[in-house]
Symmetry: none
Subunit: 219 residues, 4 copies
DNA sequence: TATGAATGAGCCTTCATTCAT
DNA sequence: TATGAATGAAGGCTCATTCAT
């Protein structure tokens, strides 16, 4: 017959967690703590404490630690895709424009979801095999998409890179890395950041703007 | 009455670990298991088992799990630096040549120490604060070195990039990423890999080979 | 963002539990699950789920898990006694007839309440001390009653057993065991089962039918 | 970096557990505590405490709680079989003698291993399915053996029971029950107990000693 | 009547580490 | 060098129970 015990309210100082808002608080805390210590280094006890809730609520909302991670990663990947698709839908049908749109979306995502996006890079391997497989499949469509854009540019003679494969990898690698160092409070604004990375990407694929549309006579 | 106490020698079949080679076996096992599961996900029990040794030997050679990781990372970083220094020592005093040497050394290191180099990227954060600080200091000299090379190139007018900082980051990011995907058994030889990444790096810094030494009219 | 919070009504498909029948559903579920997994192995969550109700309703009807068990056991014991008393009330005042009536009632109870009767045997010890004491007192009156019947038979010279105590224990033990193996759907009908156990019991007490009622004069 | 903590020696008063004798102490404690509270009601913490050892040693010797139970049950069943086989090997080839030997062995086992034998009856269901199956198979050979003895007696006309199946069940049930009530310190000696149960069993099968070997006048 | 959200205690297990040999 | 036995701490998870609605 369990008694109530001494729940020292001091432990839950930041208890902005009003009844019913448990889930959001947990997700937030999980994100931060997973990011800080890694999946195995993070204890669900600490996650709960970070959320200002008891250990057990976590299991009310999620089946366990693993599922918690999964939920975070899926959410982040969803957001990433949404950004890309929106940007590409708005872009002109021209390789440079599409590449720029892709890079812009990716950079903005890395900044907007700095923490989660790092999680997705680092903690992927801690997903259970089955979950991992499904996740990776969805994620791998991104490099494929980028590759198509590059190939298209090469085919149309706008991108001169002799190594489209390396170019694709390089562009993603440098964009992904942003989440590791960018400091929103710093000097570099997001729009400047985007501009620079778009430039960098176009450089990497060796973008050669086509001769001006030969209007009359280019002389 | 089934027991587990007596470690059946059968479990250590792969005991190529002839007496006296304990240390090497442990390092190898630790490297693989840390890489596979991450620092917190790896148990020293499994590391010992992987080395074909008993748990306790590990403590004969190392003070603990933490020190084991440290030893691995230091060793990897040493190797990385050795490679860079050797390459740069042999390179001509010319930004493009120096950048090429740097990239070549880095790429080769990522391939030569594929596993350890990944460890150094991923498990860094699991070093104890004091160890971490010393390590990072040493590691951060690498980007600084690269930055100097780039700045020099820009100053001399050989590199046209308007964003040397981004260039530096991009070059390191793409080189680092190699360890994540390169397959030594695949089609791409190391020398080809190096060649492509050197090209990529020169592209990123917007290398402009200086006009042939303007023999006659310099005007 | 997968959650678990909202109990999806689909989970309660078998909701034959039309509003208002909660109590019966809970008792049924509790009986089955306690029987299947034992008191400590059964979770009230599963009991509630088995009843097609939410966890909390359980507490509307019962003070807790312990009381739930108690209610089940008391109910079963009541039934057992009712059967015995009815049977004995209808039996002739003759040891063999009374023993037969007792055995018949007991066997029929073990079949009629197969599950609950097993519960009463196995989960008794999980009652809280005070409850346990009261329960055992009531239950122990059964062997005592049986013992009286046997002693009476021995006194009257109808039962020849030299070990009335062992006989009593043997008879109860074998009747109790019925609940462990009897399959209502099988070949053996309840009336046959009763007949055999009555025979067995009479054998155990070494029943010797008295010399025919000395009609005229046996001389 | 874990420190030693305050191991209050007081907690391990009965520490007759000298280094190296851990296994035996654990088995003993496990037996008692499983018997007292049932598999699910017993915590391995309490088992360890009962053994005067730390929680973790348990896992040095056994894979877990489940395996601990399994080890106990197997050991008990082994003992039971050994007893039966020895007894039957020494018995004459005559149904009554064999039945007596079987009952004697069974009764003695129930007394000798009073606790474990109860465990085997009650906690069986808590074995994992695979383990359970193997165990039950071995255990079920016992009733079969008893049944063969009875059938043989019936065939030879020495046992008159019309219900050999019920007889077999009754004999085992009453013998099994012994472990529930017998008190070694009480009035009834083991040899008396055996004698009574042999008598009871012979009664149950309705043993009819064959007519004295018709020496001279068979009339 | 009935529910969803939340809690504290406790459980089984694993882990890094130590110590005597 | 190397090992088996043992330990305290912590980890993930389940559980009976409560409370506000």
């Amino acid at each position: 017959m369990a008694t109530r015990g001494t729940a020292d309210a001091a432990d839950r100082q930041s208890r902005a967690v009003t009844r019913g808002n448990g889930l959001a608080a947990i997700m937030r805390s999980a994100r931060d703590i997973f990011a800080e210590r890694g999946y195995h280094g993070a204890s669900i006890r600490d996650i709960a404490k970070g959320a200002g809730l008891s250990l057990s609520v976590l299991y009310y909302y999620h089946a366990g630690k693993q599922e918690l991670l999964h939920a975070l990663l899926e959410d982040a990947l969803d957001d990433c895709w949404r950004g890309c698709e929106t940007a590409l839908a708005a872009a002109a049908d021209d390789p440079a424009a599409r590449l720029s749109a892709f890079v812009q979306a990716t950079v903005e995502y890395r900044v907007r979801r700095q923490v989660d996006s790092l999680l997705a890079l680092r903690e992927l391997r801690n997903l259970e095999p089955e979950r991992l497989e499904r996740f990776v499949e969805r994620r791998d469509a991104l490099p494929k998409l980028l590759r198509e854009i590059i190939d298209d540019g090469v085919a149309r003679g706008v991108f001169a890179t002799p190594h489209p494969d390396e170019a694709q990898r390089a562009i993603l690698a440098m964009c992904n890395a942003i989440a590791q160092w960018y400091q929103p409070a710093g000097d570099l604004s997001v729009s400047d950041l985007v501009e620079r990375y778009v430039h960098l990407a176009l450089t990497v694929v060796q973008h050669r703007p086509p001769a001006r549309k030969p209007r009359a006579k280019s002389r």
